[in-house]
């Protein structure tokens, strides 16, 4: 069993990554993933959004990478970012809950399942479902799923990385699937 990398080893790996060593960066992100997963698990529990939050934190670490100075503790820096993203998620979660738009997250594929019966016209339903998304999510879903653009094209036009676009659309599709299922269950009552 390999031991966890030390703070100094991680700081050194980050220093190499900032100098352009892609392999060191890949190894660093792989090494910190279980640490961050454990951190999020302690705060959110065995949550079906655990992987989403983990990916949010990895993206945030990537975006904030220029603020790391190898004179300081890497783990402290990393966990400060993870803590911030978890709190940010909880703030959004409770804000949505207070606004009455709280949705659970289920499988993505059910959105286009033919057995899904909706009481209203499909276009109206689709527009209503899209309104439950944030403006950014709505734009990305419209560009990718309706207009057919690739994640790379969407990322280029919105100033986001391809990876970030895919994470956003993945979450948005889960939200839409859940909303559609709720509408279906109301229609059947």
């Amino acid at each position: 069993m390999t031991s966890s990398p030390t703070d100094q080893q991680l700081a050194e790996a980050m220093r190499k990554a900032q100098a352009g060593d892609g392999k060191a960066y890949h190894q660093l992100l792989t090494d910190i993933t279980p640490l961050i997963r454990g951190f999020i698990y302690k705060r959110l529990g065995d949550h079906n959004e655990l992987e989403d939050r983990l990916q949010d934190v990895l993206l945030a670490i990537h975006r904030a990478g220029h603020t790391f100075n190898s004179d300081r503790s890497f783990l402290n820096w990393m966990f400060a970012i993870a803590d911030y993203k978890v709190k940010d998620h909880l703030r959004s979660h409770y804000r949505r809950k207070a606004a009455g738009t709280q949705v659970g997250l289920e499988a993505v594929a059910e959105l286009s399942a033919p057995q899904l019966r909706l009481a209203l016209d499909d276009r109206q339903t689709l527009e209503r479902l899209l309104e439950t998304l944030s403006p950014r999510e709505r734009t990305i879903v419209q560009m990718m799923k309706i207009e057919g653009h690739s994640a790379r094209d969407v990322g280029n036009s919105l100033g986001m990385s391809e990876g970030a676009v895919k994470v956003v659309v993945h979450r948005a599709m889960k939200t839409l699937a859940s909303q559609a299922r709720q509408e279906d269950s109301h229609a059947n009552q």
Partner: protein, 215 residues
């Protein structure tokens, strides 16, 4: 998307190059702000009795205290732009010490030297002082917000309020050097309260603008 795929994509993009240290960035911003400040002094012209005023210990203390507030709040804003501010959590409170002394100095001046009552002071309607403090702070404030937003602040309200305090403090010092108003009541109402207002505005703007981490 699987986490392993995300890691591969991020590794392919590569880690961003390290930014200059916070202290270096703060120093650069302060130098720019000083040049801007000197330009404004040249445009407005110093007050006629500036030589005499600089020999008064109370005036000198007031200006130097506000200058220390400006410098320390700039330093705090620089550190607050980093996500791991928890390594020096005390830094965000450092400007509050001279701020407290400054408030004490103003209160002392109000009790002992003020010739105006509060209602008389309000009737002066020196809204031009308020507008000037806000306008003087727009350009350096915008610059500091831009630089801080490019970093990764996790205490966005604190960072914003420190920026507001820093730029409004500069405006306060400028007004003291160019405007002949000296009554302590007037200084509190028409000069100092706008500084506090800018600190609150900075806090609100910080919350809205600084959490997005554009990189």
């Amino acid at each position: 998307m699987q986490t392993s795929d995300l890691i591969s994509r991020l590794a392919h993009e590569g880690a961003p190059k390290p930014a200059p240290k916070a202290s270096a960035v703060v120093l650069r911003l302060l130098l720019l702000a000083t040049l801007y400040f000197i330009l404004l002094v040249v445009i407005h012209g110093l007050r006629d009795d500036i030589g005499q005023k600089l020999q008064q210990s109370l005036f000198l203390s007031e200006v130097l205290l506000m200058l220390s507030i400006v410098l320390l709040s700039a330093l705090a804003a620089g550190w607050l732009s980093l996500p791991d501010i928890n390594q020096k959590p005390w830094i965000r409170f450092v400007p509050l010490a001279p701020l407290g002394l400054f408030v004490g100095l103003l209160i002392y001046g109000m009790w002992n030297f003020s010739t105006l009552t509060l209602s008389e002071c309000l009737q002066l309607s020196r809204f031009d002082c308020v507008v000037r403090i806000i306008l003087y702070g727009l350009l350096p404030g915008g610059g500091m917000f831009y630089v801080t937003a490019k970093a990764a602040p996790t205490r966005c309200c604190w960072a914003g309020s420190m920026i507001g305090l820093c730029v409004a403090g500069l405006g306060y010092i400028l007004l003291r050097l160019v405007d002949p108003s000296d009554d302590p009541m007037q200084l509190v109402v028409w000069h100092f309260l706008p500084v506090m207002f800018m600190m609150v505005v900075g806090m609100v703007l910080g919350r809205r603008l600084l959490g997005r981490w554009q990189g």
